[in-house]
């Protein structure tokens, strides 16, 4: 195993990771509540996947490129994407990078090397493969990551991307954030074999890891990222976690699911992280309480500020279809506005 961090830094790195997990959880709870209040249209929470996302993020460089899916708020927060940027997208306001064009949870954060999220699942995977090819061609020391859920592994895009990445031996890490569910379907109705085992069929390394444990996920990610960075090719990580809530705010899991995970239970990845960090002596109850309190204040304050930002001007909806508007779009713009 690669030396992860030196001991002096380890406390800072781990506490920072924990703080990102808490901030993400606080954010998710706030947005789900706001959706119930009619202040937000839709949301796909990351609740239950914080350790997977943060543990993975810890292994990456800032220059690495992420083709993320729609459930990666903890990953974004840990990578330094400001809460405001995430809120602007969810609200679709005039400061949203995509100008209010996509439904909530479809983020773009170019400055932070997050690409642009699409709704059809797994179609980001072939893009990640192409990006990795281009970056290697340009002799850049950059790793490309694609994240997706377990449902994505059933798609042709998944198989195409895995095969291409392996054939071309590309610096890609595929992170399956396996939370056990693809909307209403459990993983065992999605696939007959372990997802990590699929890697062997393509000739790449597959790693199954406890995605509720951020340190274990971090180690697995370090291994995969190093393989990518040193020319040893792609890796598929199957990070097993537990979707604690609904697929989205439009979903009612009580229709298809009997068991649930309570916040603060021993299956909650944040509780797992607290136990780990307490036993390492990096956290105590008062520090935990302080981090949680600060998270609530940050999220509430930023939500109230961003909520006041108006929607984009109607005329902006005709921008960016092409580099320049063609006559068709110009005419339709004149007609409608």
């Amino acid at each position: 195993m690669t030396e992860m961090v030196n001991e002096q830094n380890e406390k800072d790195v781990y506490v920072r990771a924990y703080t990102a997990m808490v901030l993400s959880r606080t954010f998710d709870k706030k947005i789900v509540t706001a959706q119930r209040q009619g202040r937000i249209g839709f949301y796909t929470p990351s609740i239950g996947q914080e350790a997977t996302q943060v543990g993975f993020s810890m292994a990456l460089d800032q220059k690495d490129i992420i083709f993320q899916y729609y459930r990666d708020v903890a990953l974004m927060i840990h990578r330094g994407v400001p809460i405001e940027v995430i809120l602007d997208q969810i609200m679709g306001n005039e400061e949203d990078e995509s100008k209010g064009r996509q439904m909530p949870s479809h983020y773009t954060a170019k400055k932070y090397n997050f690409m642009s999220v699409q709704s059809p699942v797994a179609t980001n995977l072939p893009l990640a493969v192409g990006a990795a090819y281009a970056l290697r061609y340009q002799k850049k020391d950059t790793v490309v990551v694609a994240t997706f859920g377990d449902g994505s592994t059933s798609t042709p895009d998944f198989h195409a991307a895995m095969n291409l990445a392996a054939v071309f031996n590309l610096p890609v890490v595929f992170l399956c954030e396996n939370n056990g569910w693809a909307i209403s379907l459990p993983t065992d109705k999605q696939t007959k074999v372990e997802i990590s085992e699929k890697a062997a069929a393509y000739g790449m390394k597959g790693i199954k890891v406890d995605g509720n444990n951020f340190i274990e996920t971090y180690r697995a990610a370090m291994d995969a990222v190093e393989r990518a960075r040193t020319g040893k090719g792609p890796t598929l990580i199957d990070a097993i976690s537990f979707r604690m809530g609904a697929h989205s705010t439009s979903d009612d899991p009580s229709k298809y699911r009997s068991e649930s995970v309570e916040e603060g239970s021993e299956k909650d990845p944040i509780t797992v992280a607290e136990d780990q960090l307490k036993s390492l002596g990096y956290l105590n109850d008062s520090l935990i309480a302080k981090i949680k309190e600060e998270s609530v204040k940050i999220v509430n304050d930023k939500f109230d500020i961003q909520e006041k930002i108006p929607p984009p001007e109607p005329k902006t909806m005709f921008d960016d279809v092409y580099a320049e508007k063609n006559w068709i779009i110009k005419e339709e713009e004149d007609d409608i506005l």
């Binding site: 490129i65 083709f67 949203d96 990078e97 995509s98 100008k99 064009r101 996509q102 479809h106 773009t108 170019k110 690409m115 642009s116 699409q118 709704s119 059809p120 179609t123 995977l125 072939p126 893009l127 990640a128 493969v129 192409g130 990006a131 990795a132 090819y133 281009a134 970056l135 061609y137 340009q138 490309v144 042709p156 895009d157 195409a160 991307a161 095969n163 291409l164 054939v167 921008d319 960016d320 279809v321 092409y322 580099a323 063609n326 006559w327 068709i328 779009i329």
Partner: protein, 319 residues
């Protein structure tokens, strides 16, 4: 040179000028592509820049999108347009929408080349004309040359386009005609139609594989026609169509793709909206029928002189 030679030498030229250009597709390397458009290029530029990919259209398009996002100019080839449908999601949901959904942050200057259309005894999976699917999608540019000169000029413009281009090559015309193609760079502007024949009596709007058929028919039957070769299907040159219709007052539209909701329907609607008061006769369409493409009977499928003249005569004789 013929169209294959024009495309080949243009790709060669573009690659020699710009090291960020990468070609990818099935059998495009040693084999030079099944139509030989990329012949010799892998030998010259290496396997890293002329990539023989595994057999997966959605992967070829998806990879090209990812490459282009990173500043590589990807020029993928789909062996036959008929095989593009497994990559349809990548084209419609990724390629066409990247600029829009990222608020202009991410752009995709890529050119997706593919041969299309019938006339080569290819049966129903090697003969389809799917241009309407692409021309219905905001975010794409769709072009189709009808001769070697335009093939070079349009390809150079497409490579320079800041937007993703679907470059449809009428395979029936790949080796149909040899014309003079200048060595030096020249551009055929995207969005600009050509008028290979001028006349006052009738406007015939066509493009791609049907252009030579229409021109031969008009010449042979001494029709005094204004023939418009669209060259770009999205965005099409509406001014060229309307100004011609205002002159002639009579219109026939000819394309190989099926009629229902094809390009002809759009052209006809544009004329109705803008120039109905100039029309002396209904607008007629001569197209492929709304059936899958038949192998042994392809000569009956594709618009020919007889069918074109039948429509022209109906329009000319309408009172």
């Amino acid at each position: 040179m013929n169209m294959v030679q024009a495309l080949n030498s243009t790709l060669d030229h573009v690659m020699s000028k710009d090291s960020s250009v990468i070609l990818l597709g099935e059998d495009i390397g040693k084999d030079g592509g099944v139509f030989r458009v990329t012949e010799g290029l892998q030998g010259k530029y290496g396997e890293e820049r002329v990539i023989d990919t595994p057999l997966v259209e959605l992967g070829i398009v998806g990879m090209s999108v990812g490459m282009s996002l990173m500043g590589v100019k990807a020029i993928p080839e789909i062996q036959f347009q008929d095989f593009i449908y497994t990559a349809f999601d990548q084209i419609i949901n990724q390629m066409a929408k990247m600029r829009y959904r990222s608020g202009g942050g991410f752009t995709l200057p890529m050119v997706l080349r593919t041969p299309y259309g019938g006339g080569i005894k290819g049966g129903l999976y090697h003969s389809q004309s799917g241009e309407a699917y692409f021309a219905h999608t905001a975010g794409l540019v769709v072009v189709t040359p009808s001769n070697p000169y335009d093939a070079k000029g349009l390809l150079l413009s497409s490579v320079e386009s800041p937007d993703p281009v679907i470059f449809l090559e009428p395979k029936r015309l790949y080796r149909a005609a040899k014309v003079e193609v200048p060595d030096e760079d020249f551009r055929v502007r995207i969005g600009e139609a050509a008028k290979p024949m001028e006349g006052d009596d009738i406007t015939v709007v066509t493009y791609g594989s049907m252009v030579p058929t229409v021109l031969n028919t008009m010449k042979k039957n001494s029709v005094n026609a204004d023939v418009i070769d669209l060259r770009t299907l999205l965005p099409m040159d509406v001014n060229a169509i309307i100004s011609s219709v205002k002159k002639t007052g009579r219109v026939v539209i000819v394309h190989e793709a099926p009629r229902t909701l094809g390009m002809g329907a759009e052209i006809s609607a544009l004329i109705s909206e803008r120039a109905i008061e100039y029309l002396y006769a209904p607008i007629l369409r001569v197209t492929g029928p709304d059936i899958p493409f038949p192998y042994r009977l392809e000569d009956y499928y594709m618009p020919n002189e007889t069918r074109i003249m039948k429509a022209v005569n109906r329009v000319m004789e309408f009172r």
